[in-house]
Symmetry: C2
Subunit: 220 residues, 2 copies
Amino acid sequence: MLAATTVFDRASHWPARFSKGVTIYDEGEPSATMYRLDRGCVRLQVNGHGGDRQIISFLFPGDLFGFCLDERHASAEAVTEAEVTCYSIASVLDLNGRSAEVLVELVNRANGAFGELAHHVEKITHLPAAERLIWFFNWLTHHDPTAAATGVIRLPMNHRDIADYLSLKPETLSRAFRLLETRGYIQRSGRRGLSLTRHALALRVRSPEEFTALEARPAA
Amino acid sequence: MLAATTVFDRASHWPARFSKGVTIYDEGEPSATMYRLDRGCVRLQVNGHGGDRQIISFLFPGDLFGFCLDERHASAEAVTEAEVTCYSIASVLDLNGRSAEVLVELVNRANGAFGELAHHVEKITHLPAAERLIWFFNWLTHHDPTAAATGVIRLPMNHRDIADYLSLKPETLSRAFRLLETRGYIQRSGRRGLSLTRHALALRVRSPEEFTALEARPAA
DNA sequence: CGACAGATTGATCCGTCTCAAGCGTGGTGG
DNA sequence: CCACCACGCTTGAGACGGATCAATCTGTCG
């Protein structure tokens, strides 16, 4: 998967680093640079009127972001210290004249992001709090083979970020955490550490749909 | 704006027509064709577990859709009788080798859709029912210069579609309609016709943010 | 080790969903 | 062209889930 992104390495690029909490770009800014995340975690978000914030997606190493040709449609902020590779958009466009892979890669990435967001919307609007959280854990493990195998997750973001991603208030999220813990789906260690129990892992091999529908609703 | 889409007319293309309610493609299907909508209205949607449906976007003439290179990430259905131009994806990719505009056009469309969806999520998760509806009217007028000028709208879709787009139940949507009517923001004629009143039009010149925040909340 | 931001817990409120009847419009057939 | 029928929209009453407000607790970092 890293190989796929090296398509762009023939365009002009350079490394950069953003520290925790820093804004990488803001919605509405003109865009001249796109990024590939190499280490850390980044969030894409839309900031609403009254300080309300909707996190659109969390990005992990290997993910591409900011490939807008005109201006930024959302903001990007570093969740943790983040190392990225920056690509000049002009030179990526130029590269397209020489290599057809560029279009394929960009359009696939864009469509993938769109599809993922579409499903995210469906989930956060139709699932109750605890099931949204399970959905989130499932989604996290898709981006981390280690977590998928062992069930151990080290959350890079705080609860407020998760709440804004799942469209819940921190208090409600906290109650959802406790509910899943009580029911034996997760075990927590500290604020950022958690492991999916055998119980949850066994269920997770099936489709997320079945998992959430059949197992999270009824009381243990 | 129609001129921009004729970029693709150098690729192989043909016309097609779908009647009301017909599925154009389903999520998960392999994709070999992309479309430009010429007349009518199409909806993109994700179908959840228990018959729950989230409408991601309504498409209008001039809009491009289905430009996935591998498989469909969402379903597309005709809201009304719809006339489209179909483009072979293979030949669009081929065209990219000869014309750099192809990449620019596709990536811009994809990013535009992503940005719009991101904002849609923010709205439907943070706004109360009546304000979501106002947001929807505003969004509709962006796609129809005539409506923007006169304030008269002929809805192509039924209330159930609007409800699934705004993530509301039909009953709640109905109450939101009545509320806006009572407060003098809209007048309705029949099930599909409505006009934004002077009151609403005057407010609409400002940003949707101000409009929804300042004017829809307090009782008249 | 100490302090502070972030997380938890409890009590209460409010908006939307749900279930159940009545419409009314728009489309159909006579 | 009009009358009728059916589907979709409307309206009401009640329940429920998440939001809110406020106090306390606890990891994490200096």
